[in-house]
Symmetry: C4
Subunit: 255 residues, 4 copies
């Protein structure tokens, strides 16, 4: 089907580029963590910024290759518009909170199949990464704000946990607008995790408990019908044999 | 069926009146937002009040046309009694908090089909509007109350978010009876959102994962039965051919 | 089946005793509300206590009649052991918090059928009554406790709402052991409400969305099989007609 | 299949060792409760520590016997690796919080079947034990921490309840890293309980409400097909009888 458009096979590319992207995402996260938590000097800062931009270029290359190797480039562009937004938004300085979103692309890749286990695994791993990234981002914007309660990384992680699980003790909470936007993302993500786990559990139960009885009934009904078909087949066999051994044996004996 | 009752076609009316109602609802929300947040002077206040009442008249006209063009007016009146309540309640001064409820009618219209995606979209968009409206309403009644914590629009929006997602940090909470009633609505709405998202996810999983195995089994059983039917059909074919080529060929050769 | 055990028909009794039980439950709730909130004088207190015990006797009579008119008294006694516990526990003075539990029996009656709508209606109405009863009970035990935050009925109702919906702002919370036990009941009840609403929604979606495709496929498969059966039937018809119009017409013409 | 590997029958062992393990788990919990709450003297402390290690040995024996009596020891070892981790972790002094995890093994045993009721029962009983164990563990690490709010067992239990149900008033919350890790476990466990209860409810509703209509339709379709099969069978009967009573009676009469 996908003949002679480009020389790159998309599936092969995907498989080969998986590992560099994951390594890049981890580097990205580490560099951002150091930037936020330890206020590095100018040299270290420039080095960390270099890593962040290097990984960003990696994601850009992956995006461009995926676009160029798609069978229909226009349709791929429309369907993956959100990836372009994810890629371009972190370039704006005030939106540097969104820098961590490209990580979601790597996670989404590994959870490719639509199987129940993969969905739960994807949702939970996405929330773990998002929870950590959210904690970092909130710490980034809150730590110097007046009246802020979230000023250390352990507190930020603890706050992210109470937010994602919707417990919300209220011992820590964001006070800036940007921090509250991150919180909104974590809250909505928490609802997603709860939904996904519950739905996967429910679907598993429906499949394993609920349909057992229905299947047994369906099988019983099928068996009844197959028995009837077998007896019809035997009837025709009898009839055929009857015709073969003299056209009408019983009639003959009645003569 | 709906012959010569009125000259207005209800579906055509619905489609044509959609856009004015949406514009009206947005105006309504903007006018109410300004009234609540910026304490306008008497002239501006009268102008905003005019918009609110103008939009209310729009909703009244839509209600009356829908009623008059219904095939059975009595049944429509009974079934849409809640729309009358929604329309009449905001006329009472102390119930001006309910002014924003008519907006739900517009949202419900666009989510007409009973499809899973539409339900989730309706529930989420309804909660977004209700969350904003709830924040406005709570701000309206709380901002001048003694001991109130919710006194600015950003705080009210943040409070509405923590309430709908059931996180409830407790950094902001209503202290007046009216504010608590609005909070009750947001809490119940939040349970509805969580339920709808989870249920839609579960139903999608049941449809796509759970039934795959059951369908495969059903197909296998069907194939077995169709094979049996085909062999019965072939048996009859053989029998027919046997009868056609001399009544009993095998019997003849035995002679 | 249930011949000559007692002269009372259980279903008739159930239907006739429904209304007195509901009226009794409402009286019970009103009397308890007044006892808790307005610290009545000794005369009024004795009157209210009389109502509470009168309604208790009503529930006792209902229990005894149901027991005596059951087809198998022993089995009914075992299966309805929880009703005996519910009936006897409020007699102990320190457990007067449990006085309101008999109300659940009335609610359970009206929700007899196992239909989805009835379950949701039962769960929601049970939680409304339990929420009110829980607020009263918490107020009863907390209002005189040192360091208590829940000291008025509106605050108690607001606290019950934030607890059932699992929002938990933390502006009000019980500080006594008894109050915390009531809170535990409300929290567990809240989980029940959320579960019931979500499950009912999910089951409705599965029934209306999920099975539509499966049914269409099953119908298509059935139609295929019925067509095959019809063609087999026609084959036999042809064969029969062939035998009737001269045993082997085609063979004859070949001669 | 499992011929002459060891002389111990695994199922028999499981059934016989159930009661000692449960007694051991209860002793374990009691000894740990006393250690945490009442700061016992050196003699009592040594006695309690003896119980804890004695029960630990019991769990070790059970692990070893299960391993040795498994049909394929290697596969059993891989599949039950988490049990080894559960067994070895509490040996490290700083991880004594994890001492209570072996209790989960006993609970998991009794909930062997994959039935809906068993799952819910297992999840709820596991959460009850985990909630109590979590309260103990948090009290253990928090009671001497500066600025701690959880310093008595009732407060710890109340905190565990508000955490598992995700209410989170915020009147009590852990302040140490270890306490927050325990809290994370309780929060995640709470999501599990909510999911399990909702999923079990949903699957029960789907089975009892949703499939009733589908089954009725399937039965109707099956009946139609069986009727068709019966009429085909009757056609062949008629044909056979026709052949038996003179080859072509109607043809004869036409002569």
């Amino acid at each position: 089907m996908r003949l002679h458009r480009t020389s790159i096979d998309p599936t092969l590319w995907r498989r080969r580029f998986e590992v560099p992207l994951i390594i890049g995402a981890v580097l990205y996260l580490v560099a951002y963590s150091i930037q936020v938590t330890s206020h590095p000097g100018p040299a270290a800062s420039r080095f960390l910024e270099g890593i962040v931009w290097g990984v960003w270029c990696l994601f850009l290359v992956d995006y461009l290759v995926s676009l160029l190797s798609a069978p229909s480039r226009g349709r791929w562009f429309i369907r993956h518009l959100h990836e372009l937004v994810i890629l371009l938004l972190p370039m704006l300085r005030p939106l540097r909170l969104l820098r961590l979103i490209p990580l979601l692309r790597v996670l989404n890749r590994s959870g490719g199949d639509a199987l129940r286990g993969h969905i739960v695994l994807y949702v939970i791993s996405a929330m773990t990464v998002l929870g950590y990234a959210g904690a970092l981002a909130v710490l980034d914007v809150e730590q110097d704000a007046p009246g802020a309660t979230i000023v250390t990384l352990p507190d930020a992680l603890w706050w992210a946990l109470t937010t994602v699980t919707s417990v919300g003790y209220g011992d820590y909470y964001p006070v800036t607008g940007a921090g509250r936007l991150v919180a909104a993302g974590l809250m909505i993500g928490g609802i997603g995790v709860l939904s996904a786990v519950t739905a996967a559990f429910a679907s598993w139960l429906v499949e394993n408990v609920g349909t057992a009885r229905a299947e047994a009934e369906a099988t019983a009904s099928d068996t009844r019908m197959q028995d009837q078909l077998t007896s019809v087949s035997l009837q025709i066999d009898t009839l055929t044999r009857q015709l073969a051994h003299g056209s009408h044996p019983r009639h003959d004996s009645e003569d």
